[in-house]
């Protein structure tokens, strides 16, 4: 049996870099958001980075390599049934894990999306705050806090599932996410996701960050000249 074991490339390099960058920036964003103070400025920068990462992943899910593509791991009822019966033999995200991927991406999108319009009732305003009125901003701030809790829950589930696979099913999911390769007795290495696809994904991600940063918003009117400021 062992003689037929091969190495299969599961996660291409962009997917791996995306994953670990996302993990690191979400942790840093959480910590800076909880601590507050002047770190809130870093919280905002990290949020913009996450916007770029999510858009990158969405594009990569269409133009990336085999196992990174959404159509490869989209959890259809048939695939789910097969998986729950123990008949699923694929690589990459299993049909149940695919739910986790989509849930994490969706909640993260809500998280950063609401944060762009949020305020902290102190001195921080999200980069797109000017586009909404204060009432809506307050509601989005509430959503930002709520989805943050949901996100922590999903991350806990994600890590719990990986631990379950490692200890109970004896399947190390972390290693392929680090090296890209998995030892298996079947399967084909990932194909596609060339330089052009990478450039497209990076370009769209950069455009999204630019849009989210509000840098394109009209400059606020300059303050009146000092001579006109009353001395009271």
């Amino acid at each position: 049996m062992n003689s037929t074991r091969t190495r299969v490339l599961i996660w291409d390099r962009p997917t791996r870099i995306f994953h670990w960058l996302l993990a690191a920036s979400v942790v840093a964003a959480h910590v800076s958001g909880e601590l507050g103070g002047n770190l809130i400025d870093w919280h905002a920068r990290l949020g913009l980075l996450v916007v770029g990462l999510i858009v990158f992943r969405l594009v990569w899910g269409v133009v990336g390599s085999t196992y990174a593509r959404f159509d490869h791991f989209f959890p259809t009822p048939a695939k789910l049934r097969a998986y729950l019966k123990g008949d699923w033999r694929g690589h990459g995200h299993n049909p149940l894990g695919a739910f986790s991927v989509f849930a994490l991406l969706g909640v993260l999108a809500v998280q950063v999306g609401s944060g762009l319009f949020a305020n902290d009732d102190i001195a921080f305003y999200g980069p797109l705050y000017d586009l909404v009125d204060q009432k809506l901003s307050n509601r989005l701030t509430g959503l930002h806090h709520l989805s943050g809790k949901v996100l922590l829950l999903l991350i806990g589930l994600h890590i719990g599932a990986i631990a379950f696979y490692a200890h109970v099913k004896k399947d190390n999911l972390v290693k392929p996410m680090l090296t890209g390769w998995k030892e298996a007795d079947h399967g084909e290495s990932a194909k596609g996701g060339g330089l052009l696809a990478l450039l497209l994904a990076l370009g769209l991600a950069a455009a999204a960050v630019y849009g989210a940063s509000g840098a394109w918003l009209p400059e606020p009117p300059p303050p009146p000249p000092a001579a006109e400021t009353p001395n009271w």
Binding site: L35, G36, G37, N38, L39, I40, D120, D121, I122, A123, F124, N138, R139, T141, G142, H145, L146
Partner: protein, 151 residues
Amino acid sequence: MKTKFLLALLAVSFVGTAAAQVKPEEAIKFRQSGYTFMAWNMGRIKMNVEGQYNKEEVIKAANAIQAIANSGMGALYLPGTDKGKGWEDTRVKPELFTNKEGVGKVAGAFVKEANEMAKVAATGDAAAAKEQFGKLGGTCKGCHDDFKIKK
């Protein structure tokens, strides 16, 4: 003994009337106005520590925050004002009225950093003002996290 008791009674009823003069709706409005006014001044400090630093502007803003911080706004949290409408629905959590120790802690921290902000502003040291602004904002957050409804 009797006089002392009467005096105490008088004092209590006097304090009672003094507090009752503010109607709940007004109390909530005063609260909200205080925080809104401080928000204007926090924004001014932020603009100055991030852009071109104008010492006089920061002093004005820091002094305004210090004055409000030391105005004894706690007196505006009358019993029964855990719900109600001032300029808008109050966003205070009921815990503010029950967790006296916790409120005292965050309020004390805020007053301390607001006083320090005014002191630092007077020196005109932009870097120190920026750092102190962060600390001050942190104490705002300390109260918001525990005693303000997020919606």
